[in-house]
Symmetry: C2
Subunit: 107 residues, 2 copies
């Protein structure tokens, strides 16, 4: 069934301290609306899910496959399956992460 | 291979008059950064791909499965496979649409 979703009404999940997500699971993919507090870090990790990170506001330093870039609005990051990545919020940030397949570990 | 993508450097594709997209294809999904000009309409259509529309700025009237809602930032719309949907830009809009599997027709 289709859904019009007010993100504010979704529960917020702490991924790691300072990184909070509101999550939509569709069956085939997961869409994560993530806020990160300035100075917070997401340690290096990898997963078999494909991921695209889209920067909506703020600056997020991302290290992907050994390359580090400060990412700003108007940038997207394509992270293939099993590529190591980490992040550090240079400022408060809002990003939309999409994953395929679904992140069962985020349910 | 991972990619840090500057969306402005991607070619812009006209989906229908007034709706333009910059597209990222990952293998398993397509992420479309879409701008819609005020007053433009995307006629009713459906596809087997799952879709989530995320409103970043502006107001987009969406009709999904016979239900019409004016969607604003902070809203996401979950459109399952083969559900009829259409859109009308009430104002200039920026939305991020994600699809699974990839939209081969957008390549």
């Amino acid at each position: 069934m289709h859904e019009f979703i007010d993100l504010e009404k979704l529960p917020e999940r702490e991924l790691v301290p300072g990184f909070h997500a509101r999550l939509i699971h569709t069956g085939k993919m997961t869409v994560a609306h993530v806020t990160a507090r300035k100075g917070s870090t997401l340690p290096a990790h990898k997963h078999f899910h494909e991921q695209v990170t889209n920067i909506i506001s703020g600056e997020l330093e991302m290290t992907v496959g050994g390359e580090t870039v400060i990412c700003t609005p108007g940038m997207s990051i394509n992270i293939p399956s099993n590529v190591l990545h980490s992040a550090r919020a240079v400022t408060d940030c809002y990003v939309i992460d999409v994953f395929c397949p679904e992140r069962e570990d985020y349910k």
